[in-house]
């Protein structure tokens, strides 16, 4: 591997910039003649807009323009789209209501944008926004997904009767029910997967700029996938054709999914810039707006059951879920509760029959879309809570019940579409059991009891499907786009390298890991490699970063382009050294003729490619190659997490005293970065399990958790020091054997935590977030 190659613990190149405050985020960019936009937002969860009076606001100091949904409709700007088509069990397509960038005639959630005020300064825009008079007729609201289909629930979009967007099924219902009918044991659970607010540290921001002379638009935005933004804004919203629209996502301070989507504010700023004659329009969210308008995650209500034979062999699993989509369908909102969720219900186990039904509903809440894990945490929670509950019900050891049912043969075709390619689930479990000292648990529990504490242990053996590709597969499941990745390797005449990648780094450390890959191949040192991303004018195309895909898919595209660069470099070197191409090897920054002492430094070969004075006959000058990579399968990271807790029965407070995570991510490029990803994911998963939960007032639909005073983010002292380890089975589906590590922590941890607490308190009836108050109530109800 070398000190800076694959597998090396290299410190992150980008951190110097971030730590010294030199990062360049969207809000740091100030274009000439910038104007500032502030949105007037709905204070009501559901209302008719009777009238909007902007007279006083327009007269306020510094105001340039005030735009409303009527203006937007008048200019025929298209609405936002949901890019993944789902069909209901009866074959009908999902019922997506209109999603205008500024609400027109009706508002559907608190925070829905009603008007855009543009002024010379942000303070002036804020002052004027308060003067916009909107006359609302308040309508009844529904926020609880379980109530959205009630006969008396208000209708949110006329196209979706009963607020039902789709009624989707996967698996064999008949076989599943037949298995339940003759099962020796049936385990049932009611599950709420709590709604979460992603909270990236950098709030969303957008700058729209229309160049009148060129009839060209620039959008600077906080996006995880700028090319997809350009595609949607061109093809569907109709801002401008793609060659007339540049999208730049510079440094982005965390996304967690919430910056995948194409948001209304981006459309509004682009369109507004043209409306005001080409001055840039900048909008930056404040934290309150972020709580109100950044897409939320999860929010499922589920009934689930598992059928087992007398000896504990799994026979069938069924889940029936209502998924809250919120007030509008966000860009990938339909994929999350369906193909990213139902397909994972086999977990790590042989389960012969599986059936799931997901009803997606509109409510008067912030739109819900993918959030770290996206559908897979919800699936894992169902499976792993059922398995743990089954072990308790059957009086079996939860580790051994899992072991008994693990899949051992690969490839393994599950009953829910996926084909798992590789893994060693038992090795993960055994390593985790050893790390946690499972044998010593009874003694630790007894000791805790002498201190008045309830100690419990909980397991979670998760699997996820990552990469969110191949394109053909996702296309057949309804994706509107292909999900390959592209890369370009540009070798400069001096032998330094620029990698242009369609992946987007917003905390993942691509500038380091991608450079490690180049160094592994060319041996030119990390400082001679520059990673370029996030600009549609620079990078040929890209599908962006989410679904733990930058390694398995993004780096694979770089490998393919590097293959081409190496092949050409070898041809040139062979020609220059009068050797056979087949004998050239690349090592330590040199091209060598194997078995001889002949060699050329890489930079001389690069220079030769550009001077072109002496190239093989017919060869084009230059050394720059690009590639597109589309995998043949998803990747399947998997692992076992074990959580050990102590609960204070007097207060209900849970302390995590031990947390072991053993993951199989395939090939690891940089163990330090991977551990960081796992730590962050675990913190988010523990946050979901113990503290985080978006809460709305059931009557008024007001957001009750609109600041950190009420929305409980985990802090450093809320999480333990993690024990992280790995098992490695290489992914056979991509050249580096990588599986992805970005989401595992958030997927695997919630059920481990809840399994541990319910074990400690002896009451299995506990929902997330397991706050002290809830745990105390559960203890006293037991």
């Amino acid at each position: 591997m070398g000190v800076e190659g694959i597998g090396a613990r290299v410190t992150r190149k980008e951190d110097r910039r971030f730590i010294t405050g030199k990062g360049r985020y969207t809000d740091d960019i100030v274009l000439k003649d910038t104007t500032y936009g502030v949105f007037v937002r709905s204070p009501h969860a559901h209302a008719k807009i009777l009238s909007i009076d902007t007279t006083a606001a327009k007269a306020a100091p510094g105001v340039i323009e005030i735009l409303t949904g009527a203006d937007l409709a008048g200019d025929r700007i298209g609405g936002l789209i949901c890019g993944w088509m789902i069909h209901s069990r009866d074959g009908t397509p999902m019922k997506a209501g209109a999603h205008p960038a500024i609400a027109h005639e009706r508002v559907r959630h608190v925070g829905d944008q009603v008007a855009l005020v543009i002024a010379e300064t942000k303070a002036q825009a804020r002052d004027a926004a308060e003067l916009v008079e909107v006359d609302y007729e308040i309508l009844p609201a529904v926020v609880d997904p379980a109530r959205a289909m009630d006969a008396d629930a208000p209708l949110i979009h006329d196209v979706a009767p009963s607020n039902l967007i789709f009624d989707w099924v996967l698996g064999d219902e008949e076989a599943t029910e037949a298995a339940f009918a003759k099962a020796a044991h049936v385990v049932e659970l009611d599950i709420i997967n709590n709604r979460l607010s992603p909270n990236p540290m950098e709030p969303r921001s957008a700058i729209g700029y229309y160049d009148e002379a060129e009839e060209h638009y620039d959008l600077y935005t906080t996006s995880q996938n700028p090319h997809v933004a350009r595609l949607v804004l061109s093809a569907f919203v109709g801002i401008a054709p793609e060659h007339k629209l540049r999208v730049v996502a510079p440094d982005v301070g965390g996304g967690f999914g919430a910056k995948i989507y194409i948001y209304p504010e981006e459309t509004a700023c682009l369109w507004a810039s043209k409306r005001i004659g080409g001055r840039p329009v900048k909008w930056t969210s404040d934290r309150t707006e972020a709580f109100l308008t950044d897409c939320h995650g999860r929010d499922h209500v589920t009934k689930a059951k598992l059928a087992l034979a007398e000896d504990g062999t799994f026979l069938a699993l069924r889940s029936d879920t209502i998924a809250n989509i919120g007030a509008y369908m966000s860009t990938f909102s339909s994929a999350t509760p369906t193909y990213l969720h139902g397909t994972l219900l086999s977990g790590q186990y042989v389960i012969p029959a599986i059936f799931t039904n997901v009803k997606a509903v509109y409510t008067n809440t912030t739109p819900v879309d993918a959030y770290r894990g996206a559908g897979r945490p919800e699936a894992t929670y169902i499976v792993e809570r059922l398995v743990e509950t089954a072990a308790r019900q059957l009086g079996m050891d939860p580790a051994e019940l899992r072991r008994k049912n693990f899949i051992r043969q690969f490839p393994y075709q599950t009953p829910v579409i996926l084909t798992y390619d590789a893994g060693d689930f038992e090795a993960n479990l055994d390593k985790a059991l050893a790390a946690v000292d499972y044998a010593g648990f009874p003694a630790r529990k007894a000791e805790a009891k002498t201190r008045g504490k309830l100690r419990g242990i909980g397991f979670s053996s998760y699997i996820e499907a990552c990469g969110i590709a191949p394109s053909q597969a996702v296309g057949s499941l309804g994706s509107g786009v292909g999900l390959w990745e592209s890369a370009e390797v540009r070798v400069n005449p001096v032998g330094t390298v620029e990698i242009l990648t369609g992946s987007h780094s917003h905390g993942q450390g691509h500038e380091t890991t991608f450079a490690q890959l180049v160094n592994e191949r060319l041996g030119i040192g990390l400082n001679n490699v520059q990673i370029v991303h996030g600009d549609t004018d620079k990078v040929q195309f890209g599908m962006g970063t989410y679904g733990s895909r930058s390694g398995a898919v993004g780096m694979s595209a770089i490998v393919k382009a590097l293959d081409k660069v190496e092949a050409k470099a070898k041809k040139i070197a062979a020609h220059l050294m009068e050797a056979s191409e087949a004998d050239i090897v690349i090592e330590d920054g040199e091209l060598k003729v194997a078995g001889t002492d002949k060699k050329l430094p890489f930079f001389q070969v690069a220079l030769a490619a550009y001077t072109a004075h002496n190239l093989p006959a017919g060869m084009e000058p230059g050394l720059k190659e690009s590639a597109f990579y589309d995998p043949t399968n998803f990747t399947y990271p998997a692992g076992t997490y074990i959580c050990e807790v102590e609960v204070d029965p007097d207060t209900g407070k849970t302390e995590i005293v031990q947390f072991v995570a053993v993951d199989d991510f395939g090939r690891i490029i940089n163990p330090m970065i991977v551990e960081g990803q796992v730590h962050g994911g675990l913190a988010q998963g523990i946050g979901q399990a113990l503290m985080e939960g978006v809460s709305y007032d059931p009557e008024s639909g007001q957001l009750l958790t609109g600041s950190y005073m009420d929305y409980c983010m985990p802090r450093a002292d809320d999480v333990p020091s993690f024990k992280v380890d790995h098992v490695t089975t290489l992914c056979p589906g991509n050249p580096l054997g990588m599986k992805g590590c970005g989401e595992a922590g958030a997927i695997g941890s919630p059920p481990a935590v809840i399994n541990a607490i319910t074990d400690a308190i002896g009451n299995n009836n506990l929902s997330m977030p397991a706050t002290p108050a809830k745990v105390w109530a559960a203890i006293n109800a037991a």
Partner: protein
């Protein structure tokens, strides 16, 4: 934030006359409550009087069985004061448990007590120790000072100058922090003084800080935690919100009171 006019008096006298003469005015101490409220445009005073540069409002002195703390003394100063630690260690500990280091280095005891947030820590110490609130106009006993959530006996043109805390025989503070805000979900301050036992509760009551009289009576003859075993609080007087319902808070008051008693030593 809206436009506001900023005043920086250097004496209490000057501050008091500004306060009396200016329209639509607010005192600014550490700004840890007021500034966020102004940023969210929930408060919009036309005039701000910054008390931060007034030397008379700062400092801690111990004499004759009392600890006197200037209203402008920061939480960090109280927390780290050797005098407070020696005389009323529970008070130093309480101050060290407020917010985070940033908040503790700016926020002041005067601002906290004047604000009387139902979940703030300091009101329980002021009430529990039976302190005296000295203002520009008078001396107010703690029992007469707190008047329900975010409400105090302070008049519009009155400034808290200092607090006089009688040194107790023993005292302890036990806080159960709200998981999100880390303010007190329930905080119980127990003080044993020459006149008996005082138990003040913050975070839990729907009228803000209060004295738990039943507990004080039970503890008069027996200072052990088990003296509270037979007691319970009526949840109808407790706060109820997304973090915990009234029954939970009623339970916490008893649990935290016992923990404070156990910590009395």
């Amino acid at each position: 934030m809206y436009q506001t006019t900023y005043h920086r008096p250097s004496t209490v006298q000057e501050a008091a006359s500004l306060l009396a003469s200016a329209e639509d005015v607010k005192l600014l101490a550490g700004g840890q409550t007021l500034i966020p409220t102004m940023k969210q445009r929930l408060a919009a005073p036309a005039n701000l009087i910054d008390l931060g540069r007034i030397a008379e409002l700062k400092g801690i002195t111990v004499s004759g069985g009392t600890v006197t703390i200037g209203a402008g003394t920061t939480h960090a100063e109280v927390h780290t004061s050797a005098d407070v630690k020696a005389a009323i260690p529970a008070l130093a500990k309480l101050a060290g448990g407020i917010g985070d280091p940033h908040v503790r280095h700016l926020g002041t005891i005067g601002g906290s007590v004047a604000n009387n947030d139902p979940a703030a820590d300091y009101p329980s110490a002021v009430l529990g120790l039976g302190a005296t609130v000295v203002t520009t106009k008078r001396e107010i006993p703690a029992d007469d000072f707190f008047a329900g959530m975010f409400t105090t006996a302070l008049e519009e043109d009155e400034i808290i100058v200092r607090f006089v805390f009688p040194v107790p025989r023993k005292a302890a503070y036990a806080k159960f922090a709200n998981p999100a805000s880390r303010y007190a979900m329930t905080g119980v301050f127990v003080a044993v003084t020459g006149d008996g036992v005082r138990v003040a509760v913050t975070g839990a009551g729907s009228d803000g800080v209060f004295r738990w009289m039943d507990a004080e009576a039970a503890l008069a003859s027996d200072l052990s935690p088990s003296a509270l075993d037979g007691l319970s609080l009526d949840p109808s007087g407790m706060l109820s919100d997304i973090h915990g319902d009234a029954a939970y808070r009623a339970n916490l008051v008893k649990v935290m009171a016992k923990r404070a008693l156990a910590a009395l030593g």
